[in-house]
């Protein structure tokens, strides 16, 4: 009950602070621009001749992943910067005093914050992602093989990052927590790309960088699963083995073990956050 009250409060904050409206405008601009760009793909004159609809769909599949990455980035940054100030910011400002002096468990308050942010982040990813898929379908007639799985994995990626941002928010200052969360998100993505290049070059050591980073912070692993669900199954084959390190194509779907690890990761980090928040003097 308390958790739901706090979740509703968190969502209301996102609306009242115009975070939602800012994201809506940004997303609309991105959708319109991408729709315009995709519509230009068919019949595009390239050095190799006019692009066929099949080639256009292939390129669309890759571009779709690029744009989806944009959305996941927006959602990640949005939730990280919303989650960042939520605990330490409210403690610093004094807002937490009146709330935590009520007959509430801190874990309930934390759960409410988490649920509110989760609804916000996942809602955004699902709606903006679906809109983008529809735009691509309208423009070039491409529809990904597993759109629901892709969107779910994007949402899971957002949940991982917001859970991390909440943990950081319980131990460091509001601004630092947002910056560190987004920084780690970016670093893991880069590590994933480096690992992909290592794999393409057959260098196991470099490839391990990506594997380890995907275990330490599952955002990149989930992102790769989402890409795999969005991309044309023939795209990777057509791009050729030499392009296996390409950052906007994924060579395999996620395993059940990795998904389980991501769920455990979220549970463990959430538990650490609850412990840290419980012990914190406000």
């Amino acid at each position: 009950m308390i958790a739901l009250t706090v979740a509703a409060l968190t969502l209301r904050e996102a609306f009242r602070r115009r975070v939602v409206w800012a994201l809506l405008v940004l997303t609309l601009v991105l959708l319109v621009l991408s729709g315009w760009g995709f519509s230009k793909l068919i019949g595009l004159d390239t050095d190799l001749g006019t692009m066929t609809s099949g080639e256009a769909r292939l390129i669309a599949s890759v571009l779709l992943n690029l744009i989806m990455f944009g959305f996941s980035l927006i959602a990640a940054i949005g939730t990280a910067f919303l989650a960042g100030p939520t605990l330490s910011g409210e403690v610093e400002s004094g807002q937490a005093l009146a709330i935590l002096a009520r007959p509430v468990r801190r874990s309930s308050v934390l759960l409410g914050k988490w649920l509110g942010l989760l609804t916000f982040g996942c809602g955004y990813v699902a709606l903006a992602g679906l809109a983008q898929l529809l735009v691509v379908r309208w423009a070039v007639g491409y529809w990904p093989p597993e759109p629901a799985t892709g969107l779910l994995l994007l949402a899971a990626e957002t949940v991982v990052l917001l859970t991390l941002a909440l943990l950081l928010s319980s131990v460091v200052s509001p601004m630092a927590s947002g910056i560190i969360a987004v920084g780690l998100f970016g670093a893991t993505w880069v590590a994933g790309v480096v690992g992909g290049i290592g794999g393409a070059l057959g260098n196991e050591g470099v490839e391990r960088v990506g594997s380890v980073s995907r275990v330490v912070l599952p955002t990149d692993g989930l992102w790769r699963g989402a890409m795999n669900a969005f991309q044309d199954p023939f795209a990777l084959a057509q791009m050729g083995q030499g392009e296996a390190g390409f950052p906007f194509l994924s060579d395999a779907p996620l395993t059940a073990a990795y998904l389980a690890w991501a769920a455990i990761w979220i549970a463990v980090v959430w538990g650490l956050t609850a412990l840290s928040f419980q012990r914190r003097d406000v």
């Binding site: 005093l97 009146a98 007959p103 509430v104």
Partner: protein, 337 residues
């Protein structure tokens, strides 16, 4: 000892049928509270009680540990040692705060909510069933009836503190903790707060009031706890703390016999014709008339008899400057088995 006392209070509040007639447990009972921040000891062995319906003032200089004590009572800060019972429940149990209203020293409320939405939120968090009319009355009580639909972000500091007062009062509390409730208020607002505290007292609501305004505390509090350097420097009822009344007499022709008689009434000092006698705190009111009668009987001319009352401010300063021995009251839970 403290644990045994806590167990006693817990036993009483457990709702056993045979104990139903016993008086309720104190609004606040704390024993042996300690808190260190790094190397600095903020609170050291603080114990006191706030009875039901009692108004207790928490006084002390800056950094005395008053806010830390309040936060430990409310479970906002973890004590390194000590026990707290709020309304008969240990403070580790969130339900102990079900009927507690709190106005923090650092008052800040969600700027994106309206004043009435802030109250709605706190009613929900408190799990209370407070009708809308009563919430509106609460805002009216603190002078915010006209601004109930305005966002808190546009409020002045004084208005935010008034809102904080409404938040503390809205969920029908049995204990209200006010930490510097008038720090941002104008003189009119201070009078409003005083009236609100007196109204709470008349309704049997316990109040723990931390304020720098000693006059404010003196007017509304039944008892005072003075903290200094994290320790209880003195505590007791106002009568106990201010009980050291004095009487000044201007006498002519006072001989040794008269001075000896003066000394029997209390510690005496002389400055020219003026004699000051400290009266006992349990003076029954006949000491001075009897003294004057005897002095006149000795042939002394009594020109003036002036009662001198020590103010709380003087008493506080004396305690903090260690100019007189402090006397701590023995702390014990207000419920006896």
């Amino acid at each position: 000892m403290a644990s045994a006392d806590a167990a006693t209070v817990r036993g009483v509040t457990s709702g056993a049928v045979g104990l139903a007639d016993l008086p309720p447990s104190p609004a606040v009972w704390c024993s042996g509270l300690r808190k260190r921040y790094g190397r600095r000891t903020a609170v050291d062995d603080v114990s006191f009680t706030v009875g039901r319906g009692e108004v207790v003032g928490l006084l002390g200089p800056n950094g005395a540990g008053k806010t830390s004590v309040i936060k430990m009572l409310l479970g906002l800060v973890r004590p390194d040692a000590g026990e707290v019972l709020l309304l008969g429940r240990p403070s580790s149990d969130p339900r102990s705060r079900s009927a507690v209203g709190y106005l923090p020293e650092l008052f800040r409320y969600q700027p994106w909510l309206t004043a009435s939405e802030v109250l709605d939120l706190h009613v929900k968090l408190a799990g209370a069933d407070v009708p809308r009319v009563e919430r509106r009355q609460c805002l009216a009580l603190v002078g915010l009836a006209e601004r109930s639909g305005d966002r808190v972000g546009g409020f002045s500091k004084g208005m935010q503190q008034r809102l904080g007062l409404a938040v503390a009062l809205v969920a029908r509390p049995e204990l209200v903790v006010l930490d510097e409730p008038t720090s941002a208020l104008d003189p009119l607002g201070r009078v409003d707060v005083r009236d609100i505290v007196l109204s709470l007292k008349s309704r049997g609501v316990a109040v723990l009031l931390n304020s720098h305004l000693i006059g404010e505390v003196e007017r509304v509090c039944d008892r005072v706890v003075i903290l200094d350097q994290g320790r209880v420097a003195a505590s007791g009822t106002l009568a106990e703390l201010l009980g050291q009344r004095e009487v000044r007499l201007r006498l002519a022709g006072a001989d040794q016999r008269a001075e000896a008689r003066l000394r029997t009434a209390g510690a005496m000092s002389r400055s020219g014709d003026w004699f000051t006698v400290q009266l006992a705190s349990d003076d029954d009111g006949v000491t001075v008339p009897d003294l004057v009668r005897d002095l006149v009987g000795f042939g002394v001319r009594v020109h003036a008899v002036e009662p001198v009352r020590i103010s709380l401010e003087e008493r506080l300063l004396a305690v903090l400057r260690h100019e007189e021995p402090s006397h701590e009251e023995p702390d014990k839970p207000g419920v006896e088995p």
